[in-house]
């Protein structure tokens, strides 16, 4: 393709945009449905309820340890579908490109989208590309929307937690935020932590294969704390956590202490918080530990009676502190 950067004409709906689609986007994302150039993809669905969601991604930088904006976009939407018990099937891709973006960077993002779509078992079936002037999109912004199907009989909801449920997370929290932070300009530490970004649909299927799950949430912006508060608020229950059981890597803990961050508030992109019946918790924990994305799974607390939305944390010293919802994000542009 002539030139090695995105130009305004690439977003104009003419031959330059068709070149971009035919020479770069279609070959990398492939697929018969995308190539037809219909205004909308036409798809057959298996039986069940439709799940439908969207996320936009503005992460900075667009490439970071353990991921990039494309991987995030696939995993984020796959995970949102998975959190309601849906089997993710199809994605749309909306690209807002900045004039001057290097085509090799765009290609790298698209390759990542293709790779992680394959891993997650979903297909990009429709898309849209816009170009804005230099300085107006910080490289690129990516939107993904996704559809999936919830098989009959599944009922997983943010409001589904009941008293007695075990609360489980599938491993170390805070990795994503710290990994993105360390790859920003001006960060001065050496640190061997990558983003946890991953598609969680196969882990959810493994859990549902051995037991009942009442509630799921992926703790992204706002971290595990926001996910816990949202689940407690929506279910009208209280929660009691045991701090020492919440998995946080030593390196992440150290960086957080140094920078005045709270690992409980740091974003994750490959974690889930589950509320499961006590009777099924052993089997589900075992299934999670046997899955590559759940090896470090841990029961971190219980759903209890008590004031709606109250989340208390038992510290190693034996005292209890109340978890508060963060007001904003400690680290902007994290996803």
């Amino acid at each position: 393709m002539a030139g090695d950067v995105i130009t305004i004409a690439h977003g104009g709906g003419g031959t330059r945009m068709q070149d971009l689609l035919r020479e770069i986007i279609f070959p990398l994302l492939g697929g018969d449905t995308l190539n037809t150039a219909e205004d909308a993809a036409c798809l057959e669905l298996p039986p069940g309820k439709l799940a439908f969601t969207t996320d936009s991604f503005v992460v900075k930088p667009i490439f970071f340890s353990g991921g990039d904006i494309g991987k995030l976009a696939v995993c984020g939407t796959v995970n949102d579908l998975s959190m309601v018990g849906a089997r993710p099937l199809y994605l749309t891709l909306g690209l807002i490109l900045e004039e001057g973006l290097r085509l090799e960077d765009l290609e790298r993002v698209l390759r990542s989208i293709a790779e992680w779509s394959t891993v997650a078992g979903v297909r990009v079936v429709a898309g849209d590309t816009k170009v804005v002037e230099r300085g107006m999109a910080d490289g690129l912004y990516v939107n993904t929307a996704g559809v999936g199907v919830i098989p009959d009989g599944r009922s997983i909801s943010i409001s589904g937690a009941v008293v007695g449920d075990a609360l489980i997370v599938n491993g170390y929290v805070g990795d994503h935020g710290v990994a993105v932070l360390k790859d920003r300009d001006g960060f001065g530490f050496q640190l061997d932590v990558g983003s946890d970004c991953a598609p969680l649909n196969s882990l959810v299927e493994a859990m549902l294969g051995v037991g009942t799950v009442h509630s799921l949430r992926d703790p992204t912006r706002g971290g595990l704390a926001a996910a816990l508060k949202e689940m407690a608020d929506a279910s009208g229950r209280a929660m009691e956590l045991v701090e020492k059981d919440i998995p946080v890597r030593g390196e992440v803990r150290a960086v957080c202490e140094m920078l005045g961050l709270d690992a409980m508030l740091v974003a994750n992109e490959g974690k889930l918080l589950a509320a499961v019946p006590e009777s099924d918790s052993t089997a589900i924990l075992q299934a999670m530990k046997s899955h590559p994305l759940g090896a470090d799974s841990s029961v971190i607390g219980r759903v209890t009676e008590g004031r709606k939305g109250r989340v208390s944390v038992l510290t190693p010293l034996g005292s209890a502190r109340l978890l508060r919802m963060p007001s904003g994000e400690q680290l902007p542009r994290i996803c």
Copy 2:
């Protein structure tokens, strides 16, 4: 809500974002599904194939004669679904907000989204909000994705045109691009033209109520010229147009001549190009003319044998010129 502009904290996943959702976004866009705060909407669909599409919107300015970025976002996605014969049902809404965006501007956009969703008969069922630093999103960018259902028996495709089909447009072309242009800073004309932005699903239903439609395209970026070329290329047919039958307002023609634009290349947001069997064309044209969005409909040409993708235009002087695909957009950031 405290403060009257968007701040970085509004995108952080914490209480400030929840305030934005609960005090502004949920009340304006309403709906039980959106309010549940599930990670994905869970929906029942009527029988038929699923249609799925997306569009991002970066129009400048965000408010213009006859529309705004919110109306565009609803209509653009509704129209893409309509172009494959689907009945649009549900939308997702992805907002990328710039720090400093006035809340009253955001509210105005959201009210427009709500209003036009009602008009089009669709519901916003899921969404996502991100905030980027000042200067990084020119106010706001909007993504909509949409799903609809294609009733059994419909088969409308960009490749569906056959030799002998009549080509119909539902009214004046070029209004949208010219209307947006005149509302940009520095444009010096008085001009009484508004955007044609409109949801076309009811017009398509009216057409399908009286006849068969082979192919539909909404001529947005790249204008009617790009839509014709895409339809000719995809179907492997040629097309012959009659220039005098292509509806262009006198004011739009005058502005285009003055600025060196070609009205055939200027974007529309409430127009469709249809290829319909000659035998049904009278009934379909009549149905279109009886619809508020089709009063100025016109047969503009025919699908013919001839070289694949060749679109020729018979001028008023009796000569024929070849229509060329534009290379880029004459007017960037038009949608």
